[in-house]
């Protein structure tokens, strides 16, 4: 499959213009079936398993089933991403489970100031001094 959509959980992003998975997929694979109001992956063998759709889905309707041409069935890796951390559940084929939590960001979303408080030391367009340099070096 790589990414697949669980019918019962997908609500087609409430029939908005575009689903979240459609918005995010870097390879333009996720599409909304307008009749069924469910999203699907239109070319599973072009899926990088990047998990962008899994992470962004507001109803957690998307999971990954490993590439069947080299992965035995039964493994599951599922994230739950918040604004500052991500939790992973790794389920093995033999039913063992491991859980991990990692930070992903130290600032609140949407607050980035490009200069980050650094001054740019030169106004000369032809000098090698880049924006925020030399202070940021």
């Amino acid at each position: 499959m790589p990414s697949f959509v669980i019918n019962d959980k997908c609500d087609g992003c409430k029939a908005q213009d575009r689903t979240a998975c459609q918005y995010i997929c870097p390879n333009d694979l996720m599409v909304l079936d307008k009749e069924k109001n469910k999203a699907y992956n239109r070319a599973v063998d072009m899926c990088w398993e990047c998990y962008s759709c899994v992470k962004i889905c507001p109803t957690q309707a998307i999971e990954i089933r490993g590439y069947a041409d080299f992965m035995p069935l039964g493994g599951v890796v599922q994230p739950l991403r918040s604004t500052d951390s991500i939790m992973w559940a790794v389920k093995f084929r033999n039913k063992k489970v491991k859980r991990f939590k990692f930070p992903i960001r130290t600032t609140p979303e949407g607050t980035i100031e490009p200069d980050a408080g650094f001054e740019t030391g030169s106004d000369d367009l032809k000098s090698p001094v880049l924006r925020t340099e030399p202070e940021s070096l």
Binding site: M1, I24, P26, N27, D28, R42, A43, V44, D45, M46, C47, W48, E49, C50, Y51, S52, I64, G66, Y67, A68, D69, F70, M71, P72, G74, G75, V77, R81, I86, V90, K91, F92, R93, K96, K98, F100, F102, P103, I104, R105, T106, T107, E109, I112, E113, P114, A116, G117, F118, T120, D123, L125, K126, P128, L130, R131, T132, E133, S136, L137
Partner: protein, 625 residues
């Protein structure tokens, strides 16, 4: 879908940035600052959505280029020597140094913007290797893209971002690049972007060679499948000189899911061995002398490490294993206190899994589905298929101008990172002979190029007019696959099988088969020769003719058509340059069986140029300097 009802949208700007990955984000960040001061407009066009666009879409577990100059950890010269040696002498010192002298500033910005970087007890970054620092990088791209978008916003109406617009062709005015055309992959719109300067940062090229997995796993390329050769195509078609088109990269990674090995080799000090447990870097050390002086310098160049492994496989000594179990046991054994050792074990386990979960989740899934616990059993590693990625250990890209304070005269023509075509700039995977930029260096090179491109805009205030005729012709060309499908699809009962046209999917498979079998792909052990390459080139000419008959049933397929045309041109420039360089210099990337050794006369750059006027290829040998 009717190719006739496409609206033409014309966007006029000053600096046009093509791409949405790390280099594009660096460019948008830098350009905005200088554009504001000099009243210039900046437009970014991305085939995807910037938050997860490009090779860092999934995240990364390390930043592979950080010098720490302010702390006295390394010098720019140290880095230049390292890169040059890794590429067997073939690198532009001026370009590598230019990136290296600025890259720390980019990393410091990433940290301020919110990227969590691992710190030790004294508050210093945790190094994975000499140049690599560890990060919690799941959201690396989201963070960097937010900064880039916020920078564009500082320009008000003069900064704009178009997502889901796929760029196909450069727009030329005489010998100057003055824009680009493409189409929306969401609605029936043809786009013409007019600009004073154009920056090509559209990434590397994947799926040129047949991947080892050809079922569902086709998509699990090491570099992402959406990096489809757009950068090379764009500069080639504009008539720019290209360099190092022969220098592909063959990564050795955990088998099939292509998880990263850097943390295992560098941070955990793991060894790779053959099936008998022999460390081939030790048992085959003598082979490295055949590739001196590069082979005998430390660290051993990536391609030679590959080569020693390939020799093992040729002798039937596979599988090759990363001895993760031994590495972890050794690290834990160093701690005498039992409780402390247990804690260390837990920490190492978490670090090992994070390495995959941050950047190649599929490898974690692979371990889970095979019941692999890295502390208990080793894991197979293998060579992937070849990729075109000058930001890593490949080098293919445009031949660009170096900075005037670092470059020799022959390597400097006015503006940093400008190609040999006026007004056309390149960075990241689009510029060549400056390997090992990685994520931070690509972002940095985007900054360097963008500042220079704004200077070009200021120096060239006139926006040349583009004739209606040229626009009409380009629109017709870009939308041709839709027309082809519309005219002929009704002829057969299966839209994929039709004697009048070819769909992009089979077109891609045909390209991959040619490249794999004739140009030294994975299935032939990366070996090729003049006879094979010449035959491959012959088959490519048929493909070039058939490219006129590509057909697309919808916008997504139209993008696939153009992606594969782009790939085909990357492939042709590769074959021609491998033919041109009559030696073997990177035996772990490709091996010329008819010229099996490294030659003094090829301590030089192998460049090429496609002439838009005549359609002829010119091969050019340039001194290293």
């Amino acid at each position: 879908m009717n190719a006739d009802n496409f609206e033409t949208v014309v966007v006029e700007t000053d600096l046009l940035i093509l791409g949405g990955g790390m280099a594009a984000c660096g460019a948008a960040f830098e350009a905005s600052h200088w554009a504001k001061k000099h009243k210039q407009r900046v437009t970014v066009v991305d085939k995807a959505s910037m938050e997860r666009s490009g090779a860092v879409a999934m995240g990364l577990s390390a930043i592979n280029l950080y010098l720490g100059v302010s702390k006295g950890n390394n010098t720019v010269d140290d880095y230049v020597s390292y890169v040059k040696n890794d590429l067997m002498g073939i690198a532009r010192k001026d370009l590598v140094a230019n990136i290296a002298r600025h890259v720390d500033s980019s990393v410091h910005l990433f940290e301020k913007w919110g990227l969590p970087i691992w710190k030790d007890e004294e508050g210093n970054y945790v190094n994975e290797g000499r140049w690599q620092i560890m990060i919690h990088g799941e959201s690396y791209k989201s963070i960097v893209s937010e900064a880039a978008k916020n920078a564009l916003r500082e320009l008000g109406d003069n900064g704009s971002y178009y997502e889901r617009v796929f760029i196909t062709e450069p727009v030329m005015f005489g010998d100057r690049c003055v824009g680009a055309v493409g189409f929306s992959v969401r609605e029936n719109k043809f786009y013409l972007f007019k600009a004073k300067a154009v920056l090509d940062v559209m990434g590397g090229a994947v799926h040129i060679f047949r991947p080892k997995s050809v079922g569902e796993g086709l998509g699990r390329s090491w570099y992402p499948p959406f990096n489809s050769g757009a950068s090379t195509y764009f500069t080639l078609k504009a008539g720019a000189e290209m360099t190092c088109q022969e220098v592909r990269f063959v990564p050795v990674r955990f088998k099939d899911s292509y998880g990263p090995v850097g943390a295992w080799f560098l941070l955990f000090k793991s060894k790779a061995t053959n099936a008998k447990g022999e460390d081939y870097m030790e048992t085959r050390a003598a082979e490295l002398e055949n590739w001196a002086p590069y082979g005998t310098s430390k660290p051993t160049p990536a391609n030679l490490r590959n080569y020693l492994m390939l020799l093992e496989l040729e002798e039937g000594n596979g599988p090759i294993y990363m001895r993760t179990d031994e590495a972890i046991k050794k690290l834990v054994a160093e701690i005498p206190d039992e409780k402390e050792a247990k804690r260390k074990m837990k920490e190492l386990e978490s670090e090992a899994w994070e390495d995959f979960l941050d950047m190649t989740v599929s490898q974690a899934l692979n371990w889970a589905s095979h019941n692999i616990m890295p502390e208990e059993s080793p894991s197979e590693i293998s060579a992937c298929e070849p990729y075109f990625i000058s930001s890593h250990s490949g080098a293919s890209g445009a031949w660009i101008s170096g900075p005037n304070d670092l470059a020799p005269d022959e390597h400097h023509w006015g503006y940093d990172n400008m190609t040999t075509v006026k007004g056309l700039f390149a960075a990241g995977d689009a510029s060549g002979a400056s390997s090992h930029k990685f994520s931070s260096g690509s972002f940095t090179e985007g900054r360097i190029a963008a500042k220079a491109a704004i200077a070009f805009c200021v120096d060239h205030p006139d926006l040349p007019g583009i004739g209606e005729e040229q626009i009409t012709a380009l629109k017709e060309k870009v939308l041709q696959p839709l027309k082809m499908f519309g005219e002929h699809s009704g002829y057969t009962n299966d839209e994929d099988v039709n004697p009048n046209y070819i769909k992009p999917r089979m077109f891609m498979f045909r390209l991959q088969k040619i490249m794999d079998e004739y140009a030294g792909g994975a299935s032939v052990g990366f070996k090729t020769s003049e006879a094979l390459l010449t035959k491959g080139l012959e088959y490519l000419q048929f493909m070039k003719e058939d490219a006129e008959k590509l057909a697309a049933g919808d916008l997504n397929e139209l993008m696939r058509c153009w992606e594969n045309v782009h790939r085909m041109w990357q492939a042709e420039s590769h074959i021609r340059t491998v033919l041109f360089r009559e030696e073997t210099r990177w035996p772990g990337y490709y091996f010329r069986t008819d010229h099996p050794t490294m030659k003094e006369e090829w301590e030089a750059f192998a460049n090429c140029r496609w002439d838009p006027e005549t359609g002829e290829w010119e091969m050019i040998k340039r001194d290293l300097l």
